[in-house]
Amino acid sequence: MISTTVQNKTRSIISFAAAVLVWQLAASILNEPLLLSSPIDVIKRMATIWKEPYFFHSIYVSAKNIFIGFFTALFLAVLLGAISARYRFFETLLMPYLLSMKAVPVASFVILALLWFKAERLSIFISFLIVFPVIYKNTVEGIRSVDIKLLQMAKLFNVPLKRKIRMLYLPKLRPYMVSALSSSIGMAWKAGIAAELIARPDFTIGQRLYDSKVYLSTADLFCYTLIIILLGYLSEKIILAITQRLTEGKYI
């Protein structure tokens, strides 16, 4: 078991190193930093980029907006998903909105949202829009997956709702939520930053990406891309760890 984990990690490191090597080779062959910065250029830039004014403030503003959208979507999706799982009528009522969220291209929503909200609020709305359907669907499916016979048992023994949620529903919801959260947090970051790139609110990562295009700084583009990937990865790890803890099946 341990050796398999070590083997997998070694493979990941080797494949990652190989990819960086291919990137370096491609950059060397192309020899045009404007089109493709080399990994070395990106590392050099990374060492200085954080010293720039408002660097951390930009990350803070972007993260704040994306998290507001994400957690609002999480709260509402779990709440409405729980109601939908219980009442089919409610689920049918929400269906047109859910289908719209899934079917309408994000770009159309962005343009519409620009008319409704200030530029600073756009990424909140877009990350909400991306996350809500994923968590809603998984909440409905997770709650419905609870064995009807266990629910009958809980009803017979007059188990209080709070205990039913804690010991019956949450452990059952766990795999659904883990899957939903791990895919949606990354999507929230990507869509939120894309929205910022279009709306260009001040002091955000999206605006920094736009600046890198305007000033033809490909190294900056790669740096911020890596920062977005890192932030998405860290958010996923933290949120999943909290989810695992909260949905643990034990009596409290």
């Binding site: 016979k149 266990l150 009958q152 048992m153 809980a154 017979l156 023994f157 007059n158 188990v159 209080p160 205990r163 010991m167 019956l168 452990p171 059952k172 099946g249 034990k250 009596y251």
Partner: protein, 191 residues
């Protein structure tokens, strides 16, 4: 508690036909009869999970406890947490362990996840859950099935100690004898 002229059909087939029964406090009724004759359906009607097509039910107790035909344990939880799921914090840990011991279950098994227990162990945990829930009526649907003689004896002893009014579905003569209950064959009451 009274059941008067209860009738229930499934898919046009009459499972329970004109069944009546009166149970007084302290009664122990052992329901017997061939498989598919409607014993479990009758328990489900008493618990309110199945509605009878016709008939009357009077003075059904508010608090009913049951050992279902399947264990109906929550597999992600430990054996003890499965019991706490219905009892809450009303019973101390020491007392709970002593009940486990009465059913020949160890302290280690009490903290083991339900899915890790053997069939017979799961059955005893399901029984303990039903016995520790304060109820006025205990329903047993083949509750002692799969238990060896020693464990069956221990389980029935504790059942008689903890519960007073019991309806037990069983096929086993020795269980009827140990429960010292009134045998009621559904074949003779349901036409």
């Amino acid at each position: 508690m009274k059941l008067i002229n209860i009738e229930k059909s499934f898919g046009g087939r009459k499972t329970i036909d004109n069944f009546s029964l009166e149970i007084k406090k302290g009664d122990i009724i052992c329901l017997t009869g061939a498989s598919g004759i409607g014993k479990t359906t009758l328990l489900n009607i008493i618990m309110g999970f199945v509605k009878p097509d016709s008939g009357e039910m009077i003075d059904i107790p508010e608090k009913i406890s049951c050992v279902f035909q399947e264990d109906r344990l929550i597999y992600g939880l430990s054996a003890m947490d499965n019991i706490r799921f219905v009892t809450g914090n009303n019973i101390s840990e020491e007392e709970m362990i002593s009940y486990f011991n009465m059913l020949n279950l160890t302290k280690k098994q009490a903290y083991q996840k339900a899915e890790k227990l053997s069939g017979g162990e799961k059955r005893r945990v399901a029984l303990l859950r039903a016995l520790l829930y304060p109820s006025e009526l205990l329903l047993l649907d083949e509750a002692f099935k799969g238990l060896d003689d020693d464990n069956k004896k221990a389980a029935i002893d504790l059942t008689l100690k903890k519960a007073h009014t019991i309806i037990a579905v069983t096929h086993e003569k020795d269980e009827i004898a140990l429960l010292s209950g009134r045998e009621l064959s559904l074949e003779s009451t349901i036409k």
